[in-house]
């Protein structure tokens, strides 16, 4: 029986010609787990917001939405608040109150629930989520993952029939994201709640979906089981294909037959069955690093750093050389000192022992005025932290460059068309490019990026990587720290891994990720024991085709 039904729903924002939603007809059954995917700007969020009246944006609209057989507008605000739960992307801003118990109770208080029921519901939620330990904590003390779990729990306390999640894990690190999405699945399985979820990282949710709906330019481009959708995306050469989990992409790119593997485990089995014996060509050629060790952009020798006199050491003797003109990726878990290392490279944190050299000069001896003008610059994790003006043009003009240079950089970052927009009205990817343009106007020889791919969809990632490539081609050295090992494996020249405040190892991605057995890409894990150094879906597909071609 249908829980949600939209009939020829079309929508356009005020002042916009283009329809954000174009004739969307959709039915979602009770108890389904539906994954809604699509590129940024494909209308996913707008569609989801149409399923709850208080969140529906203003604009021109036609068509209708039914919930449980009644038009959505017939349900009053209280009923909608109770029956339809909506979790958004931002971990911090969704919180209303300052203590965990109060946050859990907030929705119930708003609905005017009586005290005994409220106590019971809150207690139930706290136990279901294992929150007893932090029930009386201040929300400011929680980690991002805990905050998002709290957001979920405080929605679930109202016992909604439909749970809508709009990119809930995109601001979390991979471990917290995995934990959160597992919890959502547990909610679906144990409570039978109907779930509609969108997410850029599909690895965790795609295989388990009852149904996948793909949106493109405001209309539904494909829908069905994960297998069917992946086939449709591949056959239709649709851009969303690049966002699918690695095993599926490798399978279709290798033109494998049968049912595509959805998880790493299935992918591994697929390769095992395809190559019961050792394949003829097990390794791809490893191109040696084309960078000379002598011409170093960054030279760090045995640096130690701590944030306070009695604080623990964050960096414990890091020694590192980054060649000029390379795209260097620093990976590692949470709290291993990645971001702190970046801060020492740009002089915000000063190590208490050891030395840092940039382009052969000691960092300490470069005057501050010169350091951030033409030497080093950093793009923070949240690009919005650089914005302080009302239009992107003013942002760029703030940097004091002449009009021609602003035009050049804007063209390079492809933000010319966005110059008159307010920075906060841009999409996440556009904000990233705008902030990058601002940073590039300082003319850095060394560009530092902190988690640049957080919350980016796969298309944006490819574009962003191309932009970074162009910069390194022009001679800029780019250093990024990231949790996104798939991105690092695909695009970096060199990868280093930090652990416990020290550099563990550093190598070209192919060698780096093929040596690791756990901390590696999905392709690396699924091809373990079959291929030696396949680290991306394309690598796996290439080796597969080469061997299969040889056999026939």
């Amino acid at each position: 029986m249908a829980l949600v039904h939209t009939q020829n729903l079309s929508f356009a924002y005020p002042g916009k010609e283009k329809k954000t939603l174009d004739n969307v007809s959709l039915t979602i059954e009770k108890g389904e787990y539906v994954v809604l995917c699509g590129r940024s700007g494909s209308g996913k969020t707008t569609l989801l917001r149409h399923l709850k009246s208080v969140l529906t944006p203003n604009g021109r609209r036609s068509g209708g939405v039914c919930f449980d057989g009644r038009p959505l507008s017939d349900l009053n605000a209280g009923e909608q608040a109770r029956r339809i739960g909506f979790v958004m992307q931002s971990t911090e801003d969704q919180l209303v109150t300052d203590e965990v118990w109060h946050e859990l109770a907030f929705g119930l208080e708003s609905l005017g629930m009586d005290e005994n029921t409220m106590r019971l519901r809150v207690a139930e939620m706290a136990s279901f989520f294992g929150m007893e330990g932090w029930f009386h904590r201040n929300v400011g003390e929680l980690s991002g993952g805990q905050k998002q779990l709290l957001n979920l729990a405080s929605i679930l306390a109202m016992e909604p029939e439909l749970l809508i999640l709009d990119e809930p894990a995109s601001q979390l690190d991979p471990i917290a994201a995995g934990n959160f999405l597992d919890t959502v699945r547990r909610v679906h399985q144990e409570l039978g709640t109907t779930v509609i979820i969108t997410e850029h990282r599909l690895e965790d949710i795609f295989p388990a979906a009852d149904r996948v709906i793909v949106m493109e330019d405001g209309h539904i481009a494909a829908q069905g089981s994960p297998t069917a959708v992946s086939e449709a995306l591949w056959r239709g050469r649709m851009p969303m294909f690049s966002a699918l989990p690695t095993p599926i992409r490798a399978f279709w790119q290798a033109e494998g037959g049968g049912k595509p593997p959805l998880t790493v485990r299935e992918g591994h089995r697929w390769l095992r069955e395809a190559f019961p014996d050792r394949p003829e060509v097990a390794a791809l050629p490893e191109n040696v690093s084309r960078f000379s060790e002598t011409d170093a952009a960054v030279c760090v020798r045995d640096i130690w750093f701590r944030y306070g006199r009695n604080a623990p050491d964050v960096l414990k003797g890091v020694t590192l050389t980054i060649p000029r003109g390379c795209l260097y990726a620093m990976v590692g878990g949470n709290g291993t000192g990645k971001s702190t290392l970046l801060k020492t490279l740009c002089g915000v944190c000063t190590p208490y022992r050891g030395r840092v050299q940039l382009f052969g000069r000691s960092l300490r001896h470069i005057p501050k005025g010169e350091l951030y003008r033409g030497c080093v610059s950093m793009l923070p994790q949240d690009p919005r932290e650089l914005f302080a003006h009302q239009t992107l043009r003013e942002e760029l003009e703030e940097m004091g460059a002449d009009a021609e240079r602003i035009r050049d950089i804007a063209a390079l970052c492809r933000v010319e068309a966005l110059l008159d927009a307010h920075p906060y009205d841009l999409s996440g990817g556009e904000q990233q490019r705008g902030a990058l343009a601002k940073v590039l106007l300082t003319g850095p020889k060394l560009l530092l990026l902190d988690e640049p791919t957080k919350g980016m969809d796969s298309t944006f990632k490819a574009e962003f990587a191309a932009l970074l490539r162009e910069l390194t081609r022009r001679g800029t050295t780019v250093v990024l720290v990231s949790h996104d090992i798939e991105f690092c494996a695909e695009y970096a020249d060199l990868v280093g891994m930090l652990f416990d405040g020290g550099l563990l190892t550093q190598d070209i991605p192919r060698r780096f990720f093929s040596r690791n057995s756990f901390y590696t890409t999905a392709a690396g894990r699924m091809s373990r024991g079959v291929f030696q150094n396949a680290v991306t879906a394309a690598d796996v597909a290439l080796l597969y085709m080469e061997n299969k071609g040889g056999q026939e």
């Binding site: 208080v54 969140l55 009053n76 605000a77 209280g78 608040a81 109770r82 739960g85 909506f86 958004m88 931002s90 911090e92 801003d93 969704q94 919180l95 209303v96 109150t97 300052d98 203590e99 118990w101 109060h102 109770a105 907030f106 929705g107 208080e109 708003s110 609905l111 005017g112 629930m113 005290e115 409220m118 106590r119 809150v122 201040n138 929300v139 400011g140 957001n151 929605i155 109202m158 801060k343 740009c346 915000v348 501050k368 005025g369 951030y372 003008r373 080093v376 610059s377 950093m378 923070p380 932290e385 650089l386 914005f387 302080a388 003006h389 906060y424 601002k438 940073v439 300082t442 530092l448």
Partner: protein, 289 residues
């Protein structure tokens, strides 16, 4: 604070107690009562804050000395003239009164210090939420946002520093102020954008759909009843017994304190006594184990 009794009580108990205590401290001028109030408050303050409290106290001493010394200058009444200043008499009585005033002020500050620690913001909000739901919600959100904004400010300053707009690099006030204004603008944009999401989240959870109820995180227990009863009983007794009048100008005269003083001491030492009782109970329990 885990060992303080009032910190673990219902906020109402603490609120009523501190209301009574601070009202007495603001009005009573009798030196003996004053000394009792100050010592009880000081003892409680140090119990609550430990070593850190020791460092906080000396800061208010110069201010109190100024208050004490200044009173005779501004209030020239009094019989015993010590000397004349700017042609006005500087009298002993006025100086004594000045010292008493300073003592009252010090007592109030100490008691307010205890109040701030025991009745944290969320407890005050909890107390007033049923009376003023919207206002207390504003207060709750503000108190959540302040530390979050301060953290964000640090991040913003760091981010701007890395593109050459660091506050640290500015030596002139003009530059500092311009940097500060840009930071404030940046923070405002971010904060207001976040407020849209918060407002959405509130409405998505049914805010404004009807009359709000309130989750009761605290319950009035028998102990709360006892403490409340003691507070109100002792306060009434102290007022009825009286004996807390004192006059300083033009001459010093004060009532003989009787039972009133004992009751008053008991009232103001209540938190310390309750603390002590629990300590003893623990000792006793541990010995039995």
């Amino acid at each position: 604070m885990e060992r303080d009794v009032f910190s673990r009580c219902h906020p109402l108990t603490g609120f009523v107690y501190f209301f009574c205590a601070i009202c007495f401290c603001a009005v009573v001028r009798h030196p003996m009562y004053l000394a009792a109030g100050f010592l009880a408050g000081l003892f409680y303050f140090l119990l609550l804050h430990g070593e850190a409290g020791m460092k906080k106290l000396p800061g208010m001493v110069p201010f109190l000395l100024v208050v004490a010394a200044l009173n005779p200058v501004l209030n020239p009444r009094g019989e015993t003239v010590l000397f004349t200043l700017f042609g006005r008499p500087y009298t002993l009585e006025a100086l004594v009164y000045g010292v008493v005033l300073a003592g009252m002020l010090g007592t109030m500050l100490v008691w307010f210090g205890c109040f701030s620690t025991v009745l944290t913001g969320e407890k005050i909000v909890y107390l007033f939420a049923p009376i003023a739901p919207a206002l207390s919600l504003v207060l709750v959100m503000t108190m959540r946002l302040i530390p979050s904004f301060q953290r964000k400010l640090a991040r913003l300053a760091g981010a701007r520093r890395c593109i050459g707009f660091g506050l640290e690099e500015q030596t002139r006030w003009r530059g500092k102020l311009r940097c500060g204004a840009a930071l404030l603008a940046s923070l405002t944009d971010w904060a207001l954008e976040g407020s849209i999401i918060t407002a959405d989240a509130m409405r998505a959870r049914g805010y404004g759909t009807g009359k709000r109820t309130h989750y009761r995180a605290y319950r009035l227990s028998a102990r709360d009843g006892m403490l409340l009863g003691l507070t109100l009983g002792l306060s009434t007794a102290a007022v009825t017994f009286g004996g807390m009048q004192a006059e300083f100008l033009p001459s010093v005269s004060m009532e003989r304190p009787g039972w009133g003083l004992a009751v008053y001491c008991l009232l103001l030492a209540l938190p310390v006594l309750a603390w002590g009782k629990e300590e003893l109970q623990w000792r006793w329990c541990i010995r039995r184990i």
